[in-house]
């Protein structure tokens, strides 16, 4: 993962970014099963319930916690981006990034409120691999987070039982896709990238299962997150 983000900061070549993203997910998919086995093998049930592992829970609340975890990460990332802006951030970039930050905070707080007592704790992000002074690093990471968010919601939709929560997920995923488009267009304006790389030959955007997504974002969270009780 470290290498991946070094590559982000070394090049603005967005073709490479999409390749990196694909590799990132492919590799994540490959190790997901192994990681799961490790946790299960190394820990007792009691360990899994301890502070070391954040269990997202089951059913619709599990999916809401899954979304809450992702929104926590996104919000924390953009808060940091605006707290320590990269060199020569343009006004337009600042407006866009500020809007996105606010949207992610609203999403985070929405899920927290919807979950009430069932909400997972506040997660501790790990952004040590992101160079917040570098436009390329920040926008590359933003693209990764947005693309990941869209693929996560797209993959979670069919796991939701309550039609009202499905609608909420639908309301949010298209806003994440709007973000992804804007960020990609900041990286490479008026090019194909606003809607490329994450979309297959049928014109369908990626949809990933929670296990793939959770493994993909694990380098960005200090906490261990377990989705073992999520619906599948």
């Amino acid at each position: 993962m470290k290498k991946t983000l070094t590559q982000f900061s070394d090049s603005s070549d967005s073709v490479m970014l999409s390749k990196v993203n694909r590799r990132f997910f492919l590799r994540s998919a490959g190790v997901a099963a192994t990681t799961g086995a490790f946790i299960m093998g190394a820990c007792t049930e009691q360990d899994l319930m301890s502070d070391d592992v954040v269990d997202l829970g089951s059913g619709d609340f599990g999916i809401l916690n899954y979304a809450y975890a992702l929104e926590q990460l996104e919000a924390a990332f953009y808060i940091q981006v605006l707290t320590t802006p990269y060199l020569n951030m343009t006004d337009m970039e600042k407006w866009i990034l500020t809007d996105i930050r606010d949207h992610e905070i609203i999403h985070r707080e929405f899920f927290k409120a919807a979950l009430g007592m069932k909400a997972i704790k506040g997660l501790t992000p790990n952004f040590s691999q992101i160079d917040f002074a570098s436009r390329t690093s920040v926008l590359g990471a933003a693209k990764l987070f947005e693309d990941t968010g869209v693929a996560a919601y797209n993959g979670a939709g069919k796991l939701i039982e309550d039609v009202n929560y499905l609608l909420v997920a639908g309301k949010i995923v298209s806003v994440e896709a709007r973000h992804a488009s804007a960020i990609a267009d900041l990286i490479n304006p008026n090019a194909l990238e606003f809607a490329n790389g994450q979309i297959d030959e049928n014109g369908l955007e990626h949809a990933y299962s929670p296990s793939i997504i959770l493994d993909g974002v694990s380098p960005f969270v200090m906490d261990k997150i377990s989705g073992k009780n999520l619906p599948s």
Binding site: F110, N154, V173, A182, F194
Partner: protein
Amino acid sequence: MDIFKILDSIQKVDGDAAGRLEHSTRRMFMNRVSSSLAAAAVPTVFASIVNKAYGATPTVTEILNFALTLEYLEETFYFQANRMDNFIPAEYTLVFSQIEKHETQHVHFLKAALGSAAVDRPTFDFTYGGAFPDAWTNFMTFITISAALEDTGVRAYKGQAGNLISAPQILEYALQVHSVEARHASLVRRIIGKLKNDPMMKGWITQAKGFPPAVYAGMTPESNMVHAGLDASTLAGIGSISDDAVTESFDEPLTMEEVLAIAGPFIVKTM
């Protein structure tokens, strides 16, 4: 059957429907739709859906044909524009060719899924019955229609997600198309903002900002802030974040009937 008869037929089944179809929708039709449109035929897929009792869940086939009709509309629109000389400014040709590519892929995908049940491509009128007379001569008009089609597409797919909850794989496909439409909408809106020098025209929808108004209105307008019973504007943790940002954070659905009211005037006749 014309558009007004369909609206009337909805109203007969549900007296409140006309009220729920945003007032601006009806006003827009009254003001803009030319007499040629009064004779317009509406696609049988739309008609059959609307003829069902209001609120009845459409079948998966009906939903996919509904989606296919919208994708035909979008694909035809971009296909024509991308083949006109000196119409789309050079800096935006890649963007619109990419959008066309996806709409074509969506058409092929939906047709393959529907097989012999797929509806045919209707004939379209992108002047919207004369409301947009310069659709093919003025890029600003063209791109305004583009944003309207993309945002309508996003809202249309979102509106059908719940109806697909018991068909999980179809639901996932619909969501996978839905986010692609949202990526399109975001960039098209941002280009409009740039061309009009309007910083409030963003990739996301502030309140119900966009044109024509009916695209952003409806039973659950884009300015809605209550989701799953929670008023997002009163969340404790959002501090001083504005209501505008709250409305931007959630996109809203359109019902099939609302989409019909918006898209109907583009459709001259079914083949």
